[in-house]
């Protein structure tokens, strides 16, 4: 991590010294999930894709987390399928950073499930590998406890892939999917599924119809409007509920010196009128 990020992280983590962190295995679990899965102290994130919590973008992720938590409060929806219309729109980054935002609350049980069977990316960001990959859970009948990895500091469980599978028809068998989702929902309060693009694969359609809803990630200045509309139509046709959209990687066109004067210049009213 760079000096800029470590400075912020130090500000965050200075309340808990490293000596205390290293010796916390003997202490009593602070969170409900601690001990249920393979537990690590912290994820070794990919520095280029991690967002500093105390930055403006971290605040934007907290806003997203708040909007998602609103669904849990009002409608009891706890499982969200993150997808996009095309590839490379930042689904995995958004999912992991949103999970970090959820994990700030120590009482909430959060899970990040990597369901992108073709191009799994969660393991690359979090550098977390369980005893079994999630594809084994879906096909070979491995247990979720063998797959998940829990971080004490980030307070969420990661179900990562170990290898990419070429064929997804077996893994997406209805009974298995429904069983696994039910098992996950029985354990976690918030489950974030990282899936593949809508327009090229079927995972988001299969998963979205059996979970609470779908969140469509759109990359600014890259995704075409027609692609978004077509993905929306695909989701409706598959019976998925589109909870909302997330605009990712929005560049700021105003110079920094101006941008800093007004706090949260681009956080306009639309983010709060989500419903």
């Amino acid at each position: 991590m760079s000096t800029f990020d470590t400075a912020f992280d130090h500000a965050i983590t200075k309340a808990v010294p490293l000596s205390a962190q290293t010796t916390s295995k003997a202490q009593a679990p602070r969170t409900p999930l601690e001990g249920s899965f393979q537990t690590v102290e912290r994820f070794e994130y990919d520095a280029t894709r991690l967002v500093v919590t105390a930055s403006v973008v971290g605040e934007q992720y907290r806003t997203l987390k708040t909007n998602l938590a609103r669904f849990k409060e009002m409608e009891g929806i706890g499982s969200f399928v993150f997808t996009s219309s095309t590839k490379d729109e930042g689904k995995t980054t958004v999912v992991v950073n949103t999970a970090r935002a959820f994990g700030r609350d120590p009482g909430v049980k959060v899970a990040v499930v990597d369901c992108d069977f073709k191009r799994p990316g969660v393991a690359d960001i979090c550098r977390a590998e369980g005893k079994a990959g999630f594809e084994e859970v879906m096909t070979a009948g491995a247990q979720l406890a063998d797959c998940g990895v829990y971080s004490r500091r980030d307070n969420f469980v990661v179900f990562a892939m170990k290898r990419r599978s070429e064929e997804t028809t077996e893994t997406l068998a209805t009974t298995v999917v429904e069983r696994v989702i039910a098992e996950l929902e029985s354990i976690f309060d918030v489950i974030l599924f990282d899936t593949s693009p809508v327009l090229s694969t079927t995972e988001p359609l299969v998963l979205g119809a059996r979970t609470g809803g779908v969140v469509l990630v759109v990359r600014a200045n890259a995704t075409q409007r027609e692609s978004v509309l077509y993905a929306q139509g695909q989701l409706e046709q598959a019976g998925c509920r589109l909870l909302g959209l997330v605009l990712n990687a929005r560049p700021s066109y105003v110079p920094r010196f101006w941008w800093l004067r007004k706090y949260d210049y681009f956080q306009d009213e639309y983010t709060y009128k989500a419903k």
Binding site: G90, V215, V228, L245, L247, F266
Partner: protein, 597 residues
């Protein structure tokens, strides 16, 4: 797709996302307009004048002008097309006078020579205008230089013509002289031949034949001499035949003389005479009447006596008639004989003459044969000399005609220089005051125009770009809630870390503004430095820059060296080639008002 309502933040986004497009397009347009304003635009202190070339110049214009196809008709068409009102113009006389006050004629002529490259010659597309334009520091100067240039072009064209004609005349003169000497020589030889000709002792017929020809140039050739010889032979044969005819006639005449009787019988003669026959018939009738009377009546009847008297007279007549007839017949017989004798003597003399002539002809024939054997070459040379003389005389007359025509043409060409070709001027109005392009205005115009063009380009690009821009875009198109907006974290990180790229990204705005300011400053400085605003009332001498004056001095040196050669040429040829100014210098009595300052 439903259209989104544009917002001010959209303009901000577009302005910052396509900022470089705005900058580059605007800078490009500003640079182009500045280039036009400083380099291509009409410079100040420039007068452009037109010349309406008329058909009077057909012969003396340079070839590139004169060779344009049917330009005279095009000029007339253009004159019909250009029915424009004649603007208030400054006359060329005033212009030339204004120039002359400060520069002499030779100076201006030298400027004409030195600034030939600056002269622009273009054909108007509408019609047949040949537009000569010249840039000078003053309109009057430009007009004067233009007029003198045209005059000089015409004069040089005529000079070239005169030079060619001079060479033509000299060659023709030499040719004529040589031909004349040749003609004289051949004439001399022909005279010698003429003196020789009488010594040939030609016969009368040959001499007559020769006399029929007017000149000695038609003297008989060898063939003709042979013809004369043959003619002589034919004459001899004809004379022989004549002699034969005469001999025959003589024999017949001798026969006739012999047949001619000495005495012709009278009865026969009387019976043939009608008066005698009538008298005899009358006598017989009277005798019958008398016998009847005597038988019927007495002898005393008055009729008897009358009849007897008449019978008596008839008898007397018959008797006398018989005697007379005898005499006449004798005379006739003698006369015929004498005539035949005379004829015979004539024929004899004629035959003798013919024989003499035949002898002469034979002698002549012998002489001609001798001459023919001796002098065929002399006759041939005489004939050739004659023909040569004739040819040379014709050539001489032709060459003389050419020479005369060339001399006439040269005279005409010399007349053209001074009087015949007066330029017809069609001048654009000469500017009264100095003008210059307003560079600042041009710069501002470039900024406005460039911004407009870049706005248009960016609008097109935005219109073609269908990518999602912001959350408003998303919400408008999908009608779904936007749960979150995540900024570009890498961009913010780069700015926060003060990377060089981020610093440059911040600086580029300042640099862009600085570029515009610098460009404006450069334009303003150049405008002030190189395009000084002329003062009010500034006149021609002050407007002439030092560079122009030095050019004029160099051109004067060149011109003086060239003029000496020209003068030598003119004096040597004796041709009065006077390059008079196109426009007369106004007299001293009318001072130029424009030079009062």
């Amino acid at each position: 797709m439903t259209a989104t309502r544009s917002d001010f933040r959209d303009y901000i986004r577009v302005a910052f996302s396509r900022g470089w497009w705005f900058a580059f397009v605007t800078l490009g347009v500003v640079a182009g307009i500045s280039y036009y304003s400083f380099v291509r635009a009409t410079k100040y202190y420039v007068a452009r004048n037109e010349i309406l070339v008329t058909d009077k110049y057909a012969g003396s214009l340079p070839k590139e002008i004169a060779s344009s196809t049917d330009w005279i008709t095009r000029i007339r068409k253009a004159e019909l097309d250009f029915k424009r009102p004649v603007p208030a113009r400054q006359t060329i006389e005033e212009a030339v006078g204004a120039v002359r006050m400060t520069l002499s004629e030779s100076d201006v002529l030298s400027m004409v020579d030195s600034f030939k490259d600056k002269m622009k010659l273009e054909y108007s597309k509408e019609g047949g205008f040949i537009r000569l334009s010249y840039e000078a520091s003053d309109g009057r100067l430009a007009a004067a230089v233009l007029s003198l240039f045209v005059k000089r072009v015409l004069a040089s064209a005529v000079e070239l013509q005169v030079q060619e004609l001079n060479t033509e005349v000299s060659t023709l003169t030499a040719l004529r002289d040589s031909l004349a000497s040749q003609v004289a020589a051949s004439e001399r030889r022909l005279d010698e031949m003429k003196t020789v000709a009488p010594e040939l002792k030609l016969t009368a017929s040959t001499m007559a034949m020769l006399k029929d020809s007017r000149d000695i140039k038609t003297m008989p050739s060898t063939e003709q001499a042979v013809a004369v010889f043959l003619q002589l032979q034919r004459d001899i044969i004809g004379i022989d035949s004549d002699i034969a005819d005469i001999c025959e006639q003589m024999t017949t005449i001798a026969g006739q003389i012999k047949e001619q009787p000495d005495v012709v019988p009278a009865k026969r003669k009387l019976e043939t005479m009608p008066a005698v026959v009538e008298a005899t018939r009358r006598r017989d009738a009277l005798r019958v009447q008398l016998a009847q009377l005597l038988a019927n009546s007495t002898a005393d009847h008055p009729m008897v006596k009358e009849i007897q008297a008449e019978l008596k007279s008839l008898d007397a007549f018959l008797v006398s008639a018989a005697s007379e007839a005898t005499v006449e017949v004798v005379y006739e017989a003698n006369q015929v004989r004498e005539q035949l004798k005379v004829k015979a003597t004539q024929l004899e003399s004629e035959a003798a003459g013919l024989k003499e002539r035949r002898v002469k002809l034979e002698e002549n024939k012998e002489q001609w044969r001798k001459k023919l054997d001796e002098m065929p070459a002399q006759w041939r040379t005489a004939r050739e000399l004659t023909l040569d003389y004739e040819k040379k005389t014709d050539n001489l007359s032709l060459v003389t005609d050419d020479l005369v025509q060339a001399q006439i043409r040269r005279g005409l060409a010399l007349d053209q220089v001074g009087t015949y070709y007066q330029p017809q001027w069609e001048l654009t109005p000469v500017p009264e005051r100095y003008t210059k392009p307003n560079h600042i205005i041009h710069l501002m115009l470039g900024v406005v125009l460039g911004l407009l063009m870049s706005f248009f380009a960016v609008y097109v690009m935005e219109f073609a770009d269908h990518s999602v821009k912001d959350q408003r875009d998303l919400r408008a198109y999908t009608k779904a809630a936007v749960l979150g907006v995540i900024s570009d974290y890498n961009q913010l990180k780069a700015v926060a870390r003060r990377t060089p790229f981020a610093k440059a990204a911040i600086l580029k705005t300042y640099l862009l503004a600085l570029a515009f300011v610098a460009l404006a400053g450069v334009v303003a400085w150049a405008d002030w430095r190189w395009w000084p605003a002329p003062q009010k009332g500034q006149t021609l001498p002050a407007a002439l820059s030092s560079a122009t004056v030095s050019n004029i001095e160099q051109a004067m040196k060149l011109y003086t060296s060239q003029a000496a050669n020209l003068e030598d040429y003119r004096s040597a040829e004796g041709a009065k080639v006077e390059v008079t100014p196109a426009i007369e210098v106004p007299g001293e009595s009318s001072p130029q008002p424009m030079l009062s300052e």
